[in-house]
Amino acid sequence: MLEALWIVLLGMSIIFAVLGLLLGIMTVLSRLPEHDRDKKA
């Protein structure tokens, strides 16, 4: 059962780490200014 416990703990940790990184990327992306062409549209 110890292996299952490890999978649960590591699994949730990796998911939060990966999605946390994605959160950082998204935060940067969402602050990007609009492209000139987008503004015109």
Binding site: V8, L19, D38
Partner: protein
């Protein structure tokens, strides 16, 4: 050579197990047509079950059409991955990009996968030994908690689970039952005051550049950290890139419509064809369906609990109900959150926030599938 009537007439060879499967097939078709429960899937699955359990039909046996489809589309993981291109092309990540923090709710709601995996392994080879669940089977059963049919098929096929058909049907069935499963848990875990928290509707504008960069950034970031998720996240984001690029509308349309529809037909009927009486009617199947509902309950509870933590940290600005939308069942779960929010306060519109958490759940479930594929062989 002596030929008896039983060798020619199917009904003379019909076993009681096959008769039960025929009833189950008819029931799924009935639910799809009369009750409109996931008709796109239940009608092909129900038909597949009926065809696979016709005695002497041999459609699911060695060399039969269903065996061929399974080999070509499921064993190679082709069908679920093609579906993901269509899903990616259909999803608007806008609400999610406007509220990036909702990705954490999507992450928390994947606890159902791991909690269910632990429970299944506990009942199986892990400790109690009541059921014939190996570590790989338990991980595949846990994927019911992804609330995501293609991911469940993909992971259980790669892990070689003998319960793939039951897992897929359980995942799709409970996705349809989200409006029944989630509300009691959401209400039980939140106070009336929390459910009444209003979140301002502020229509933001996400630039086209951001929308295009997001799928590319997601592929690179996620795949470098969790490479086993590459096929899943890659195809999902490829579909989204077709949509957001705006220059290949015909490809985006084909992915959303023609391709997704054709593959859904093939996937549904093939999954139904895998449900042959001898393999399906087992005690383990009933238990998988029971565990499946626990998976959805754990998903919902974990999302709401993180929502409550975020509510506390934000000093009451975040309504914890939106955490329940962190599961991948899109868009049912977001609608459930909106409905429960409106029950507490008829002017409380949570849909935009819930849609953000819901699309985050789609990404998170794919990542969870990749993480499961990465970890199980390490400990198996």
């Amino acid at each position: 050579m002596e030929i008896t009537a039983g060798d020619i007439l199917g009904f003379l060879s019909l076993t009681w197990q096959q008769a039960i499967m025929l009833v189950i097939g008819c029931l799924l078709i009935y639910l799809g047509i009369a009750r409109k429960v996931e008709p796109v899937l239940l009608i092909p699955i129900g038909t597949g079950i009926i065809l696979a359990n016709i005695p002497l039909g041999d459609i699911a046996g060695q060399g039969g059409l269903f065996a061929l489809l399974k080999e070509a589309g499921i064993d190679t993981e082709l069908f679920p991955l093609l579906i993901f291109i269509g899903v990616g092309a259909m999803i608007d990540f806008g609400p999610f990009l406007e509220k990036p923090y909702t990705i954490l709710l999507g992450a928390a709601a994947q606890f159902g996968i791991f909690g269910t995996f632990f429970l299944a392994y506990l009942l199986g080879d892990g400790w109690l030994g009541i059921m014939d669940f190996s570590l790989n089977d338990a991980a595949s059963i846990g994927m019911i908690g992804s609330a995501d049919g293609p991911t469940s098929i993909y992971v259980s096929t790669i892990l070689g689970s003998k319960f793939t058909a039951a897992i897929v049907v359980a995942a799709y069935s409970y996705m349809a039952l989200v409006p029944i499963i989630q509300p009691p848990i959401m209400k039980w875990l939140t106070t009336e005051k929390e459910r009444k928290i209003r979140m301002p509707v502020t229509p933001g504008k996400i630039s086209r550049r951001t929308r295009i960069l997001f799928p590319i950034a997601a592929i690179i970031a996620v795949c470098l950290l969790a490479p086993k998720a590459t096929p899943l996240i890659g195809f999902l984001m490829f579909g989204n890139l077709l949509r957001e690029s705006g220059v290949v509308k015909q490809l985006s349309s084909a992915a959303q419509n023609e391709m997704a529809n054709i593959v859904t037909i093939l996937l549904g009927i093939t999954v139904g064809g895998m449900m042959v009486a001898g393999d399906f009617l087992k005690l383990e199947t009933i238990l998988i369906f029971t565990i499946g509902i626990i998976a959805f309950a754990m998903d919902t509870a974990a999302g709401v609990i993180l929502g409550k933590i975020m509510c506390f940290i934000s000093k009451g600005k975040i309504n914890p109900l939106i955490g329940a939308a962190g599961i991948s069942a899109f868009p049912m779960s977001a609608r459930v959150v909106q409905k429960v929010g409106l029950e507490a306060d008829p002017h409380n519109h949570l849909l935009m926030y819930a849609a953000g958490a819901n699309t985050a759940g789609q990404i998170a479930s794919v990542v969870a599938g990749g993480v499961m594929l990465m970890l199980v062989p390490l400990f198996g």
